[in-house]
Amino acid sequence: MIWKIFLFLLLAFVSIAGIAFPIVEKPAAWYEFPFIPGLEENAKIIFFHVPTAWLTVIAFFMSTIFSFKYLRKKNLDDDAKAYSAAQLGMIFCILATVTGAVWAKFAWGQFWSWDPRQTSIFAILLIYGALFALRSSIESEDKRATLSAVYSLIAFITVPFFIFIMPRIMKGLHPGSAEDSNAGPIIDFQMNPSMQLIFFLSLIGFTILYFWMWQVGYKSIIFRDKLNKQLIIPTGSGQGG
């Protein structure tokens, strides 16, 4: 219980600090953020956009790991864990895409410009969408678990290609891209200690939140399956794990 209160306080502090702390030319007080050329006030999105993008990747990775575990041990609990991670990954992926697009409207002038990172996150969104479409089309539990595990493994190995191809096809606009001289790599050089502190607090807070939600998610899926088996109710509609 105590850590839930701690998490609430942490996320409340991060939200207030991230939105309310001012950006000034020469930060003096501890609560002032530095002025980053090219980003200006838009820089504040880093406290909310980067954690969601980070969790998208973590969830994708965890979903793949548990899919792999399922294929080795054939334990349906692993499938529930992979499915729950994928569900959360989809939510965070949509959040990252939307917050990124809104930020891009103000920083680059348009919502979508097929920047390498936008294309990569779009590909991850497509993979998640395809995974859920596949899952909802299969009735049998074991078959659904096996086929979706195989699909997520195949999808996972194609993702690294984007990292290599994208910068060759189009120039990166995103802060932190390779040729980005004015605003990259912002995490190391241009954030002052207080900004870094709130950034990493935000990362930690969102990560704890993710693991909590993931635990609740997969436990509820496992309980539902158990109840279904006890009551001998046909799983029907083909939803859920």
Binding site: L71, A123, L126, I127, G129, A130, A133, L134, S137, I138, K143, T146, L147, A149, V150, Y151, L153, I154, A155, I157, T158, F161, F162, F164, I165, R168, I169
Partner: protein, 221 residues
């Protein structure tokens, strides 16, 4: 194992020759897709980069319309259990892959010929680069669509799900192949296109390995 795969391929080939279902539908699909593009262009001359992109658009959708047959037909006729009894999973996959590779090559050669005849800007400067891209791209396309076809056949869902599942898997390949096709239009030398070629080769090898490793799980019920 290779003899068995070849026997499986011959079985698919002769049953294809008997019904001519895939060949007919693919040929008609190619004609329909290209004529839709030509109608929408009208009298305008489109740029080189658009021609190269549209070339791979037609290839992608033609593959999506025909390649799922390999495994779906076995499930429809109820012959997949017999196949499971007489052959190992990798043998089945090799046979089906061989059939799909040949189908992809036939259909893409037709598309390439039609494109060079009908589109003014489809002029290849560096012909060896184009052929290499074409061959490597076709192999990658065949491998990925065969493994996804196996998933689709077991999922019992036909039609719409196939392009949905295949697109994210094929996206890196198609993007790189479009890039390479445009380079061959510009007459770029092999040295400059080395990186993209390495990516396509890497994609083919990795997908082939992963497909053989994962096909066992799909095939055994």
């Amino acid at each position: 194992m290779l003899a068995k795969s070849y026997a499986l391929f011959k079985k698919d080939f002769s049953s294809e020759l008997r019904t001519r279902y895939a060949i007919n539908s693919l040929a008609m699909f190619i004609i329909v897709a290209i004529s839709v593009i030509l109608f929408s262009i009208g009298n305008e001359t489109i740029t080189e980069s658009l021609t190269g992109g549209l070339f791979w658009v037609v290839i992608f959708f033609t593959a999506m319309s025909g390649l799922a047959r390999a495994f779906v037909s076995e499930e429809e006729r109820g012959t997949s259990l017999t196949l499971q009894l007489i052959a190992s999973p990798s043998t089945v996959f090799t046979g089906k892959l061989l059939f799909n590779v040949i189908l992809v090559f036939c259909m893409n050669i037709v598309i390439a010929i039609l494109y060079s005849a009908l589109f003014e800007r489809f002029v290849v400067q560096n012909f060896p680069l184009f052929v290499l891209t074409f061959v490597l791209g076709n192999i990658g396309l065949a491998v990925s669509s065969t493994i996804i076809a196996a998933i689709i056949a077991k999922a019992g869902a036909k039609g719409t799900l196939y392009p949905v599942l295949s697109f994210p898997i094929l996206l890196p390949l198609i993007l790189t192949c479009v890039q390479l096709t445009l380079s061959s239009f510009d007459g770029t030398s092999f040295d400059e296109a080395q990186f993209e070629l390495a990516i396509v080769v890497g994609y083919d090898v990795i997908m082939l390995t992963a497909s053989y490793m994962l096909f066992d799980f799909i095939w055994k019920d």
